[in-house]
């Protein structure tokens, strides 16, 4: 059984619908730790060694956040800047995280269609995630396809319920080591795994 660490970041959690539902849907899962960064560090003063310790105690890391400005809310960046230290996460001596898996779980206001070369956003979500992807690679970890919830402003209740259970299923599969690296080769989003592994 693998241990999963969710690095959750939502600066306006009190107003959130999608991410609140998603995170509450996995809160009770065994082997899953939720690390709510805005709640823990409202003043952005991140405890580096505590965060590194958490990373070492887990095998799979999930950045779970809304997709602000095609990226993450600022505390995620602050967390990366401080916690992924040279000599710890990367560099010649920095092998502490080697071999772990990392996934982004994001929600976007725009529907799936707009994230394409011909859509209004001109790039795919995966393309936008390139900095995360490469950061993970630099740390000798494996970056998994993201779990994406599109159209968050217009999503219906039943659609959201589906997303929540899909997210829960995905985490269980990951935790129980039901997925191999090859499973991710052909897919763009983790959401597509549903069909093959459900």
């Amino acid at each position: 059984m693998k241990k999963i660490l969710i690095l959750f970041a939502h600066p306006a959690y009190q107003k959130s619908i999608i991410n609140k539902a998603l995170i509450n849907g996995v809160r009770d899962l065994k082997g899953v730790t939720i690390n709510d960064l805005y709640e823990k560090y409202p003043d952005f003063f991140i405890d580096i060694s505590a965060e590194q310790k958490l990373l070492l105690q887990h095998d799979i890391i999930v950045w779970h956040h809304p997709f602000y400005w095609y990226s993450a809310p600022s505390i995620i960046k602050e967390w990366m800047d401080l916690v992924l230290q040279h000599g710890f996460a990367y560099g010649r001596q920095g092998r502490a995280l080697e071999g772990k898996w990392v996934m982004s779980a994001i929600s976007t206001g725009g529907r799936a269609e707009v994230y394409s070369k011909t859509g209004s956003n001109h790039f795919t979500v995966n393309e936008f995630l390139a900095p995360f992807n490469q950061s993970v690679s630099l740390c000798r970890m494996l970056y998994l396809p993201p779990f994406v919830t599109h159209g968050s402003h217009t999503i219906t209740g039943s659609q959201l319920d589906g997303q929540v259970s899909a997210y829960r299923q995905l985490l269980i599969l990951l935790r129980d080591e039901k997925l191999q690296a090859e499973d991710f080769d052909k897919i763009q989003y983790m959401n597509q795994l549903k069909a093959t592994h459900a």
Binding site: Y13, E39, P42, W69, N121, H153
Partner: protein, 638 residues
């Protein structure tokens, strides 16, 4: 040759001063005692190098005039106004009560009533020269006792005028009237005029001095400064002071009082420092000369005739003056320990007494023997005065300090520390720990001896001392400091220190702890901008915690509190503008808190204190997304 005689005399006076004054200072006796000793040594009764010192003394008294000018320069009119209670209350009572007590005792010694009154009035005065020289030498001019002593001296300066007018009148009491023309002319020509005219002239002259000082003098000084010839500036400064002294003399006022007023008028002019440094050496030299001549004029032959009588008279005088001063000090609530300093400071008689005694003699009020005796007693009381202060410093204060469980102020070893932290209580401790943790060298001062002791046990290096004393600041190395942090709880004292340091050491950055918003404004007014209200920040932190307990996420509470703090900053700067415009309204202490709250809330109406609909999850975005659901939405926010 006359010149030669003059230079020889100068040589003797200067030589004596140069030898004895440094010696006296080295021995911790102070310069006044040094000068007096020099005078005694070169005087007729030891070496006999100088004959009659009286003439020199009269000339040197001008030093007192210069000194009052300089003191006036350091006193702003507003401050003088604030001192009115102690000038007229404390000063008036001192003269009145002391004069009455001495008169009664003189009556018991079988003096006639009119002579007894004259003696009482004459001996009630204290020596401006000795006291102020001592105060400035010890840096006590801003101390409570020093200020009070100065107030009393100022009143005495004013009182000399009516006393001079009174003496010829009481001389006629119980005795056939014998006021010659010459006596009246001693009072100055103005004194011969009717009373209302005198008063008119006096106020007229003072008005002219104020007018010239306020509106004319600075232009003249600027013109002269532009020539770049320093000696002309010096000449002008002296010209002004001497001119005022002469005019005052002419109308029968004390020259010292006149130059003091001129000094006060010029206190906020841009040439204040220049004037101060120009006049200072003259003042120093003349005062030194004055003290030497006092020493030289001590009549030792009279002393040897009846030493017991003289000693007991001097002691009696000092004890009476001291007791009256001590009681008045208590009544006027000088801080504990300061009333002793105050009483010791003023327990001698005055150089004015010399003038008044010889004046009375001319009026046939005293015979030769009485006036010689009085002169000797006055002179000796002045000579003993520095010894009294040493006695106070070495014997009385330590005992008082022990009574009050106080320690002697510490000498500060480090003189190069960039930061001086004044006040190491609950507030200062936090600041000090932060700075020390980040390897800054901090000189820590605290005025609470038990606090100092406890913290020393924990390895803090801190010094016991009172920063309101300029000497203490100097001692703490303010000259080399980059920053002074005023974290003490004595809010008014802190303001005074801030204003003093701002003035004297402009390179030092001042950071201050403020009591409330008005205290903040007082600092703003001094252009001290880095001010922290002692309560505000921690109260708002607890407010944030309350929000969390009430269900806010911690980040939400954090932002709400920051927003509130930021808003408070805006309100503060708005209120400051009002406050500057309408200063008086805010000064009423009793309404302070109520006004603060209502003013704050009033100003608050113009700002929102809620966290702005933060950029996240804005409802408008949602609406737009819904209405455009057919079209592609530009996706910036989730």
């Amino acid at each position: 040759m006359h010149n030669q005689e003059f230079f020889l005399q100068a040589l003797i006076y200067l030589g004596a001063a140069v030898v004895t004054v440094p010696l006296a200072k080295k021995l911790g006796l102070g310069s006044v005692l040094g000068y007096l000793l020099a005078g005694i040594i070169i005087g007729p009764f030891v070496l006999g190098w100088v004959g009659q010192a009286d003439e020199v003394m009269h000339f040197a008294e001008f030093g007192v005039v210069l000194m009052l000018f300089i003191i006036g320069l350091e006193l702003e009119p507003a401050l003088l106004w604030r001192m009115r209670r102690s000038i007229f209350g404390l000063g008036g009572l001192q003269v009145l009560v002391t004069a009455i007590v001495i008169t009664v005792i003189a009556l018991m010694m079988n003096f006639q009533i009119n002579r007894a009154i004259a003696i009482g009035l004459i001996l009630a005065l204290s020596s401006t020269a000795i006291v102020l020289q001592t105060l400035s030498e010890k840096g006590l001019l801003r101390n409570v006792a020093g200020r009070s002593a100065f107030s009393v001296l100022l009143f005495q300066d004013i009182a000399v005028i009516p006393i001079l007018a009174l003496l010829p009148l009481i001389a006629t009491l119980g005795q056939p009237a014998d006021i010659s023309e010459s006596t009246l002319s001693n009072l100055g020509k103005v004194a011969q005029m009717p009373g209302w005219l005198q008063l008119l002239i006096i106020f007229g002259v003072i008005a002219v001095i104020v007018f010239i000082g306020r509106f004319v003098a600075r232009h003249i000084f600027r013109l002269i400064a532009e020539t770049g010839l320093h000696e002309v500036f010096v000449a002008m400064a002296l010209l002004m002071v001497i001119g005022i002294a002469l005019v005052m003399d002419f109308i029968g006022l004390s020259p010292a009082l006149g130059t003091f007023i001129a000094g006060v008028v010029l206190a906020d002019s841009e040439y204040r420092h220049e004037l101060e440094t120009t006049i200072d050496p003259f003042k120093g030299l003349l005062l030194g000369l004055f003290f030497i001549s006092v020493g030289a004029s001590i009549n030792f032959s009279l002393f040897i005739e009846n030493p017991l009588l003289i000693v007991s008279l001097v002691l009696l005088l000092i004890v009476i003056k001291f007791t009256v001063l001590l009681i008045l000090g208590r009544i006027f609530r000088l801080k504990k320990g300061f009333e002793f300093l105050f009483a010791f400071l003023l327990a001698q008689s005055s150089e004015f007494s010399f003038v008044l005694i010889s004046f009375s003699k001319q009026n046939k009020l005293f015979d030769e023997y009485t006036s010689a005796l009085l002169l000797l007693v006055v002179t000796l009381s002045m000579a003993v005065s520095p010894l009294l202060l040493i006695f106070n410093d070495k014997a009385v204060s330590p005992i008082l300090a022990r009574w009050q469980n106080k320690l002697e102020y510490d000498e500060v070893e480090e003189q190069e520390n960039p930061v001086i932290l004044a006040g190491f209580g609950r507030f200062g401790l936090v600041i000090g720990r932060i700075l020390l943790a980040n390897n800054f060298k901090v000189t820590i001062l605290d005025n609470n001896p038990s606090n100092v002791e406890v913290l020393r046990n924990y390895g803090f290096k801190l010094y016991f001392g009172d920063v309101t004393r300029p000497q203490m600041l100097e001692n703490a190395g303010i000259k080399n400091a980059r920053m002074l942090i005023l974290s003490m709880a004595e809010h008014d004292d802190a303001l005074k220190v801030a204003s003093y340091v701002r003035e004297k050491y402009p390179h030092v950055k001042i950071l201050a702890r403020a009591k409330d918003i008005f205290h903040v404004f007082e600092y703003f007014k001094l252009d001290v901008r880095t001010v922290q209200r002692e309560m505000f920040e921690s109260a708002s932190e607890l407010g944030a915690k309350a929000l969390v307990e009430l269900g806010f996420t911690r980040y939400e509470a954090y932002r709400a509190t920051r927003t509130f703090n930021h808003h408070e900053e805006l309100v503060t700067s708005e209120l400051y503008k009002h406050w500057l415009e309408d200063h008086q309204k805010f000064m009423r202490e009793t309404q302070r808190f109520r006004e603060q709250v209502s003013e704050t809330l009033q100003a608050e109406k113009n700002y929102s204190i809620h966290d702005s609909e933060c950029a996240w999850d804005v409802d408008t975005l949602k609406e737009e997304a819904l209405s455009n659901s057919k079209k592609d939405t530009p996706d910036s926010k989730s």
